[in-house]
């Protein structure tokens, strides 16, 4: 009995060692694969974030040695700086762009997905605005919104909807919606493509089975399409959130945060504080807070989507 046990242990040992070595090798392989990408993120994301983090506890000017500032900048931000709160509010309003575009994109994707002639053409046209340079898009839309001779004013006035021209980008009430419309125009095609991909990866036989069971198309949409589209929708959501709070070029060109601070987003405010007011230390504090905030939003979104970020699960 004893010998039997011994030999069993002997036999297991090298196999376990082999297994462990293999696991080590696999781990090394995995890390090798990850390394290049991680190096880029370390250099251009994590170290800069750390830099901002350190700076946010200092008094610092480009040409002078730093001094410890404690929580001075954070106090400034939360207690004294109204513009920070306004920019924060605006950023969340601007974020409304994401759900609106996603719903619009879903409708468009469903329409384009139907078997009609020329759907390739429609798809191309709707996507065409996404590859455009945001700076140029800003220039173009500023021209469309022009308060005197802009196309939109012309259309609205010809249709008799308004009497006097509206300076869309220069009026407090209309500036933000106007910017959001331009942002939606640019991104909706991209969302549509993502959702289209998702739609087309839904197995046809599910619909066929549902039809045989007599389920209405509406019901099929709710019970099959929408649940199976969840990963694509989540991807759109993440991209939309990121796009909405890094949307710098467009705002910079169209309104530069104005009028007043009506279209000031956190990102444009950070840029202003750093480069117009030369308060890099304070900008650092703003960056840290913005980062934590949106990390929170993303984690929450991730939680609500019920899974790993970016996981696309098309098994049933």
């Amino acid at each position: 009995m004893a010998t039997e046990a011994l030999s069993a242990r002997d036999a297991a040992r090298p196999r376990r060692r082999l297994f462990r070595r293999q696991r080590h090798r696999e781990a090394a392989f995995v890390w090798c694969l990850l390394l290049p990408a991680l190096a880029i993120f370390l250099l251009y994301r994590l170290i800069p974030l750390g830099w901002n983090f350190l700076l946010s506890f200092q008094f610092w000017e480009p040409t002078k040695p730093a001094e410890f500032a404690g929580l001075y900048h954070y106090e400034e931000m939360f207690v004294y700086d109204d513009v920070f709160w306004q920019a924060l509010g605006n950023t969340f309003v601007y974020m409304a762009m994401a759900p609106i575009s996603i719903v619009a994109a879903l409708v468009l994707a469903l329409l384009v997905d139907s078997r009609i002639r020329g759907r390739g053409v429609y798809r191309t046209i709707i996507f065409l605005s996404y590859p455009l340079m945001a700076v140029a898009v800003g220039v173009i839309w500023r021209w469309l919104y022009d308060g005197k001779v802009g196309l939109f004013n012309y259309i609205l006035r010809s249709a008799g909807l308004i009497d006097a021209p509206i300076a869309f980008l220069e009026t407090f009430a209309t500036a933000m919606p106007a910017v959001i419309v331009a942002a939606i125009w640019q991104i909706v095609g991209f969302f549509m493509i993502i959702l289209l991909t998702g739609l087309q990866s839904i197995p046809q036989h599910l619909y066929e089975a549902a039809s045989i069971d007599g389920a209405s198309r509406f019901r099929q949409f709710w019970r099959i399409t929408l649940p199976l589209l969840r990963p694509s929708l989540f991807l759109c959501f993440v991209i939309g959130i990121i796009a909405s709070f890094t949307s710098f070029d467009l705002i910079y060109v169209m309104t530069n945060g104005g009028p007043g601070h009506a279209t000031e987003l956190l990102i444009t405010y950070i840029y202003k504080v750093a480069f117009t007011l030369t308060q890099f230390d304070y900008a650092g504090a703003l960056t840290v807070v913005m980062f934590l905030l949106f990390l929170g939003v993303a984690l929450l979104g991730n939680l609500l989507a019920g899974g790993e970020a970016g996981k696309v699960d098309i098994t049933e």
Partner: protein
Amino acid sequence: MQKTWLVAALSAVVGATFLAPGLAPGAMAQEKKLTLLTWNLPIYEEKFRGWIADFKELHPDFEVEWLDKKGTEWATFYQTQLIAGTAPDIIDVQGMLWAEYAAADGLVDLTPYLDKEPDVRDRFNKEGMTLWQYDGRQYMLPYYFSKSLMIYNKNLFEAAGLDGPPDSLEAILEDGRKIAATDEGRSGFITLNFDWLYWPLFAMNGVELLNEDMTEAAFNTPEMLDTLTKLAEATSAGVVNNIAWTGRWVEPNNAFATGDIGMYQAHGAALFWIAGNAEWVNQDTLGVAAWPGGWGVPNAHGLGISASTKYPDEAFDFLKIATSDKWQTVMADTFTILTLNEKVDEALIAGLDDPLKAETLRLSLANMDKATGNWVTPKDAAIKEAFWPEIQAALLGQKSPQEAIDAAESKVNRALRRR
């Protein structure tokens, strides 16, 4: 097929990497080099090359690199370079931005150089030079200069039965009302609003922005409330065109160029722009006058030297060439602009056939003691950011004037007290 593509792309990458000049910075660090950074003047390239050629005659062992950035991106570029320790040596700066750098010891004090060479100092308009003095030291030399004036549309004045430019805020608004009433779509008054250009409206009613030693806001007064209330009311009544408070540069210029606005508070550059773009403009239809009370906001560019430069003496030689009679005459003739080089300015005004332009330049140089909106403080940008959005909201009817003034006061004070 796909493989060929991949190979081609990869070789492109490798090739590009080797082409990259930045890969060999060591080779470049050895030669003596100065960098000139100008502000939104790509159109003047040929002349900048001329400065450089003249400089190289004096210092043949030097290389000079010329860079130009658009106004909105200038500061971003310069500050990044400053932090990295590679700041351009010679810089062309607009407005009061330089004071920020001077206060942070980022600029070379030019006073000793000027003491050594008094004839260089004597080139310039004395009062003009004070625009670039901080703590009693001279940090910049004048490059070009203009000041806000009253530009008015004589056709509309005639239509409204007015015989000349007004002499007070009340008169401006009253005349504006008459002009706006002459026809639909017309308004009485418009102004530029960036860089304190609207400030004469307040200055002429006795409003002070800051106290004497610039440590506290001084504008929460009945005069301020009165001025702001009147302007806001006139704006909502259409007497003052909305664009006065929302436009940047092109928008107000365009608005006035349409010929439907009576008065425009702007500097010479705007007048020349309009003269070049609107068909209705000529001697008889466009007038220019000093602002009531002689107030005016200077809009000036200066040339200075970054403290990080390795060759301050040579950089000063470069400044001498740039501001010399020879090159400033070229500048003046190219853009019909004042340079604060007194000899050059005199010759420019005397040589102009166009009386409107000559008058504009003459008026810009007059009343130098009434220059306003040019507080020499490193906090200038922060004060502007604290002040303007609140006042703008009141002018556009988003906030009550008193509320806006209170908010602006507390924000400005906070900005002044901050480290």
